[in-house]
């Protein structure tokens, strides 16, 4: 037991004594936590510029254009008669969409014929596309509903009955967990979990390089691994409080899990990452090598986790690769707990896989360190 404590203290001393490890294991997470969310702080895309080409010039076409301007998602940035010029502004990325209200639009409505609005939407930016479509369809839908209700009233229905008949079924969209469709609430929790993994992997790489230079103490291997685990879990628990407590509340992101659950969930996550870090650290010969090798792995790791493009539709072999990354399960379970308000027992799958990873990476790290120690003794 005292060997474990000695190794624990030794690891902490090692981290705080050197600039590189201190920067990587302590400083980096703090910096990223404040810096990374800055693009997304407004949460949603508002007032997307849309050009209206009105060839109808009637009260109804002007109403459509006014409502579009009044919608939260879009604003009418220009009105034009020239469709190609309007499309050019979409091409140049100045506007997100063009709405063309054709001639005889109102006349079609009055004649009870189907009336069409043409929308030219920039789909090269997916958020622009979905925002523009939502705004345009929302406004035309509202306009259509009003027209239907007035027609039904004209056939001697009460307003109430007319409203009901205009919509034979009322469709209610009820977003859960992130009701405002906030982009920060969607991206940041997942990315923070990834940042914790990446800084820990890189930091352990640097720490092991420094340790190998002065490795002399013959502590038992289990104590060395245990001491490292203890030190890393302690430091990273503090990071978790900083990220999901301090930074989340400063930036106003939701955090729905009780802290004991969060720690309970993150312990095997940090342990699996630490042990994986110890296993791969033997590849690195200098303090900066782990940064160079691992900085490019963040993007594949986070997108393979399926938090963005759904895991169900990714290639099967990607799923097989993603299984070995702690981040895949850490992100999945943490989103359940902290964002979707799951009970702890509902995250057992992710938590269980993390424990399996702990067992596998413990064995791997133990074998590698033992091999290294033997080769030193020879």
């Amino acid at each position: 037991m005292s060997a474990l404590l000695r190794c624990f203290r030794q690891t902490l001393r090692g981290i705080f004594r050197q600039k590189e490890t201190l920067t990587l294991l302590v400083g980096a997470s703090v910096l990223y936590a404040f810096f990374y969310p800055t693009p997304y702080l407004n949460q949603v895309l508002r007032d997307l510029p849309v050009v209206v080409v009105d060839r109808d010039h009637t009260a109804l076409s002007r109403q459509l254009s006014r409502w579009l301007d009044a919608s939260e998602a879009a604003r009418v940035s220009a009105r034009s008669n020239n469709l190609p010029a309007a499309q050019d502004s979409v091409r140049a990325g100045v506007a997100g969409a063009v709405v063309l209200i054709p001639q005889d639009f109102e006349r079609h409505v009055l004649r009870r014929e189907p009336a069409y609005v043409e929308a030219y939407v920039d789909a090269s930016y997916l958020l622009v596309y979905s925002t523009a479509m939502r705004a345009i369809q929302g406004v035309t839908g509202a306009l259509a509903a009003g027209i239907s209700v007035r027609r039904l009233q004209a056939s001697a229905l009460t307003t109430h009955a007319a409203v009901q008949q205009a919509h034979p079924v009322t469709f209610v969209a009820w977003p859960l967990f992130n009701p405002l469709a906030g982009y920060a609430s969607y991206v940041v929790p997942a990315v923070f979990i990834l940042i914790l993994q990446q800084t820990l992997l890189i930091g352990i790489g640097a720490l092991r390089v420094a340790e190998r230079r002065e490795e002399s103490k013959h502590e038992p291997l289990w104590a060395q691994l245990g001491g490292k685990l203890g030190a890393m879990i302690l430091i990273y628990a503090v990071h978790a409080v900083l990220m999901f407590g301090v930074v989340f509340s400063i930036y106003g992101f939701p955090m729905r899990a009780p802290w004991p659950d969060v720690f309970l969930f993150l312990v095997p996550y940090f342990a699996a990452v630490t042990l994986l870090g110890l296993a791969i650290a033997e590849l690195f010969d200098r303090p900066e090598t782990s940064t160079v090798a691992l900085v490019a792995t963040s993007l594949p790791a986070i997108f393979a986790s399926g938090f963005s493009f759904p895991a169900e539709v990714q290639a099967g072999w990607v799923r097989a690769v993603a299984v070995v990354w702690p981040s895949t399960w850490g992100i999945r379970g943490f989103l359940q707990l902290a964002e979707m308000g799951a009970r702890f027992d509902q995250t057992l799958r992710a938590w269980g896989v993390l424990w399996v990873q702990v067992a596998v990476y413990w064995s791997l790290a133990w074998l590698i360190l033992r091999y290294r120690r033997r080769s030193l003794e020879l």
């Binding site: 980096a28 990374y36 800055t38 693009p39 702080l41 407004n42 949603v44 895309l45 508002r46 091409r91 140049a92 189907p114 069409y116 043409e118 030219y120 939407v121 920039d122 090269s124 997916l126 958020l127 479509m133 939502r134 035309t140 259509a144 239907s148 009955a161 008949q165 034979p168 079924v169 009322t170 469709f171 209610v172 969209a173 009820w174 859960l176 967990f177 469709a181 982009y183 969607y186 900066e288 160079v292 900085v295 490019a296 993007l299 594949p300 997108f303 393979a304 963005s308 493009f309 759904p310 169900e312 539709v313 990714q314 290639a315 990607v318 999945r332 989103l335 359940q336 799951a342 509902q346």
Partner: protein, 387 residues
């Protein structure tokens, strides 16, 4: 000229002694790009699991489920009867959404009382959630529209009038530049280019940083015959060429794999790619000559987080003022504009000229800021950060 070749040859000879650099230049981005290709291989999300919570159980309620099931992005994997089970499935992420068909759905529909069909969907998984809600609402409204059409017809209206009454104003949407709404185009591409930028920037910091920390800068300058200009050009040119090869393989490969038509001008694309490489390299040099070893940290933050600031997944106009300014300095932001214009849009040259000039300007300004230290870095061993 021979001095320049000597520096370049020395650079190539150093490679076997820097295995992590070799890994960063080739295998790592290649593996990353392959993995991202696998992530986005289906391009659009289809058949995402959803459940139906049916409180009615009537024939018509099953019809409503069929409406939803007709939406291409969903696949009904469970039919359930209680709300607790729905919550369980959602929270455990076994389904992304639950469509609730209320009690008395059939009766209310036939009596024209507009029963309420609710789609509860997981918006924490925003991509899946948004796709499902757009698709299912469309499918349910279309199904309901058919019912309304039938009702109007039964009152003796003509087919055309009944159709117009059911949906008097419609949107005819034409999707520009990415007509299939492919996520490989909309998200995948920027990730591939971000990988290239990480390689371009970090490798520069590392190869220069190693000279400084190993104290081999003198040897480097000697190979250049004592000329700092030759030393720097000889050092960077092989890596700029490699960036171009990497872009051809990774970006070209990704574009070809997903059959994106290249609508623009290849010369403009090549010039843009060169400017992108130079800008990333110049930032790398700027960081390393001023910060020595610590440049790797700043480089990781700048190049590693560039995707978030690039304005592709989240538009720049919606960013916080700080992020807008910062993203302006990130080469990825500008090069993505060039790629969009010259691959997806087929925009005229003058539209791409601006981001290319900004990239060139970034390279120039970063280069000028680095200049006062670029000579000293070669001669003064104390700049290695080991003072």
């Amino acid at each position: 000229m021979s001095r320049l070749l000597r520096v370049m040859r020395r650079e190539l000879q150093r490679l076997p002694r820097l295995p992590v650099l070799v890994a960063l230049l080739g295998p790592i981005p290649l593996a990353g790009a392959l993995l991202l290709t696998g992530v986005f291989h289906s391009e659009v999300a289809r058949r995402l699991p959803i459940a139906i919570l049916d409180f009615d159980g009537s024939q018509t309620a099953r019809l409503a489920a069929r409406w939803a099931g007709a939406a291409r992005s969903v696949n009904i994997v469970a039919r359930i009867q209680d709300l607790g089970r729905a919550e369980e499935l959602l929270v455990q992420r076994k389904v992304y959404a639950v469509l609730v068909v209320p009690r008395h759905f059939e009766r209310d529909l036939l009596h024209g009382r507009s029963p309420r069909v609710t789609l509860m969907y997981n918006e924490q998984y925003l991509t899946a959630g948004n796709l499902i809600v757009a698709d299912v609402s469309h499918a349910v409204n279309a199904g309901a529209g058919a019912v309304a059409f039938g009702l109007q017809r039964s009152r003796g209206q003509t087919a055309a009038a009944a159709e117009a009454a059911a949906e008097p104003v419609r949107v005819d949407a034409r999707l520009l530049f990415n007509p299939g709404v492919s996520y490989a185009v909309g998200v995948g591409l920027v990730l591939i280019v971000a990988l290239v930028q990480i390689v371009a920037g970090i490798s520069t910091i590392y190869v220069v940083g190693r000279e400084l920390s190993d104290g081999t800068a003198g040897e480097w300058l000697e190979a250049a015959g004592g000329s700092a200009v030759v030393a720097w050009i000889g050092k960077l040119v092989p890596y700029v060429l490699w960036d171009l090869v990497l872009m051809l393989v990774l970006i070209g490969g990704f574009v070809a794999w997903f059959h994106m038509p290249v609508l623009g001008n290849l010369v403009v694309l090549t010039v843009g790619a060169l400017a992108f490489s130079l800008a990333s390299k110049a930032l790398g040099v700027l960081f390393v000559v001023w910060l020595g070893e610590r440049a790797l940290g700043l480089g990781s933050i700048t190049f590693g987080t560039a995707t978030a600031f690039a304005g592709v997944t989240f538009p720049r106009i919606a960013m916080s003022p700080f992020a807008q300014v910062w993203s302006g300095f990130v080469p990825l932001t500008r090069f993505m504009l060039v790629l969009r214009d010259q691959v997806m849009v087929g925009a005229p040259l003058r539209i791409s000229a601006r981001p290319i000039l900004v990239l060139a300007g970034t390279a120039l300004i970063a280069g000028l800021l680095a200049l006062p230290r670029m000579g000293r870095a070669l001669r003064d061993p104390s700049l290695g950060g080991k003072e």
